[in-house]
Amino acid sequence: MYKPLNMIDAVKQLLKPQSVSGRFSYAFIGVVTLILFIYAGTEIFIDNSKINKNLEQKIMRALQLSKISLPTPLWNLDNHIVDDFIEALFLDESMVFAEVIWGDQVISKRVREDYTHVEFSSLRESSLFISMFSDILYEGNKVGTVRLVMSREMVKKELINTILQTVCLMVLIIIAVTITSLIITKKYITSPLLKLKESSSLIAKGNLDTFIDKSGNDEIGVLAQQFDKMRESVKSLFLEVSEKKLEIEKYSRTLEQKVDQRTRELAQSVEELQALGEVSRVVSSTLDLNMVLTNIIHHAVQLSDTKGGIIFEFEESEQVFVPKINYGLSDTITKKIKRSILRLGDKTAIGQAGQLKVPVQISDLADELEHPLPYIREDGFSALLAVPLMRQDRLIGGLVVMRKYVGNFSDRTVDLLQTFAAQSALAIYNAQLFKQIEEKSSQLELADKHKSEFLANMSHELRTPLNAILGYTELIIDKIYGDVPEKIEKTLVRLEKNGRHLLNLINDVLDISKIEAGRLTLSLDDYSLGELVSTVLVSVEGLAAEKGLKLSAIVDKDLPIGRADQQRIAQILVNLLGNAIKFTDEGEVVVEVGTRNGFFLISILDTGLGLSVEDKQIIFKEFCQVDGSSTRERGGTGLGLSIAKKIVEMHGGSIWVESRPEGGAIFSFSIPIRVDHQVES
């Protein structure tokens, strides 16, 4: 703030050596003082000599006057006149001693009162006095001597006065000069400078509109003008910068707001995406419709900032909406909604949404006095949004969310709800589809089972007459009914062979049918695999011998006692050995039996035709043999391996085939050493 300068401040200012005006004043005053002192000294010196000279002149004049005036009275001895004359001489204040003597006789003498005690002789010697004497002559005759002493004291006094005056004058002048200089410095230097300083500090503080007094035409004025120009340019620069700063601030604020908004949006989106992700996951991971819909309505209500929601399924045949799941509703309302009949196209939001196939909202239920479900307001709901559940233009249901305050639902909420609606539609559609598929598949399963049952029963029924045929044939061949001609006997043997083939076919079909109908149960019991293998070998060694094949078994010693359906295992062994013998024309068939990792491992090696890669892939399928011709040539139903595979699997084991590098095949199967329960296929 600008403070008016008073003198004290000015003096203080002056005493500060730093201040420009102070330095200036000191210099100025110093110069003036010096000049004054020189002047005073000179003046005093001149005065002094002038006064001395004056005194000398005065005493000379008094002496001269005495010489002129006194001869006559002295001559005439007129002492009075002499006295008067001396008296007159004392009119001069400097005169302190005057006497006129004649020889030793003092004719007239006068001493100024203060000097009565002083002798002329002593006065003469003092530098304080000036003395003169002269003889008074009358026509050439000495008539007396006049002696005069004048005090220099008067001169001194005068001088002191002069000095005092000079000093006073000087002091006055110095004071005047000082004041003047102060005023001048203050007015023309300090004040403008201070103002400038004040202004500059104000400017420095940021007040760029500070007034700068630039009235002076001197350097300070110029400086002020320049400074003002500087201020102006700084101001304009500052304004520019301020504008830019404002712009930047505004921009950054906008940016900040945008970032904020975007962050919020992103957070919301992330939340929505997470919710949708979870919903999608639930939709795709379970077919439990209630669970899916509960999840959907839960998220839909949460993300749409509502308090309650219902998902309806549309009953196409009745054209009504049936509530499937609800969230956030009281039991009373839930019951009331379940009792209400919501038809497509009625005045409810869902009825309309379903009819128009677009989202329908009621922003204030209080305005909809004729709303068919007035009790919704009992739970405090004020607004609702209904979105139809559509699946490929087909109405599947509806999703309704309810809010406890009035107002429109934002587009965003509507969009979000539509996404949830799509998920709900998908879930309901999936569930419906799944239900259909499940029904179909159980029908199919039943049909399949019926088929298998039929085959099983049919095979059994087919076998009864066949048994009779085979029985009679054997009886005839055995000549129970008497002799048979040789030709007929041969035919009968072929008849029996074909009959047995047919029987085997029927038996295999029966096996497969029973397995597939789930009617085959394993009869699990302890057994010795070694003994089982021996028994089976005995039963097939005839076949091998017929073809001239070597049949052998390599059985590990100390095989543990196993547990399985040994009849079925025997059946597999017979089948595999039969096949090996059937498809081997020369060489050998070997059975290897051992254990590995808790399993029995049984392999049948032959030196037969072997198998191609394609064969290996299909060989365990039903009704399949390597090729049709060999089937016919070598017999067999093509079911044996398929049955073997199923039986092995029912034991919890596996069966496979490998080719031997030297030709031939290895059929192997493994079954757990101890089978405790049957594995359901």
Partner: protein, 121 residues
């Protein structure tokens, strides 16, 4: 007099085959067509051997076998069960019922005859 064999069988063809086979081999054959008759005839005739079918009207072969074996007088009579192509576990059921041997259909008459002779000699 040849040994008496009781054939319990509802199937006529099977009865004929067994009758022809056994009579031709010098056995006497009595026939029952259901389980109840089978048990009754066993009690009445005290046969030397019984061939028992499983699938019978009335009481089945298992039950009939059990009843015969439960009778102290009859329990020593060997019973050979003749079943249709075995459902797994049939043999066990048959042995549990108390039969002495088990022949699965289709039986070879020759092999059946062999078994019968083994029991009766």
């Amino acid at each position: 007099m040849g040994k008496l064999i009781l054939v319990v069988e509802d199937q006529e063809d099977n009865r004929i085959i067994l009758r022809d086979l056994l009579t031709n081999s010098g056995f006497e054959v009595a026939e029952a067509v259901n389980g109840i008759d089978g048990v009754r005839m066993a009690e009445e005739l005290l046969p030397d051997l019984i061939l028992m079918d499983i699938q019978l009207p009335g009481i089945d072969g298992y039950e009939a076998t059990r009843q015969i074996k439960a009778n102290a007088i009859l329990s020593s009579i060997p019973i050979i069960v003749v079943t249709s192509y075995a459902l797994s576990g049939d043999d066990k059921k048959a042995y549990n019922a108390g039969c002495d041997d088990y022949v699965a259909k289709p039986f070879s008459p020759r092999k059946l005859l062999e078994k019968v002779r083994n029991f009766l000699n």
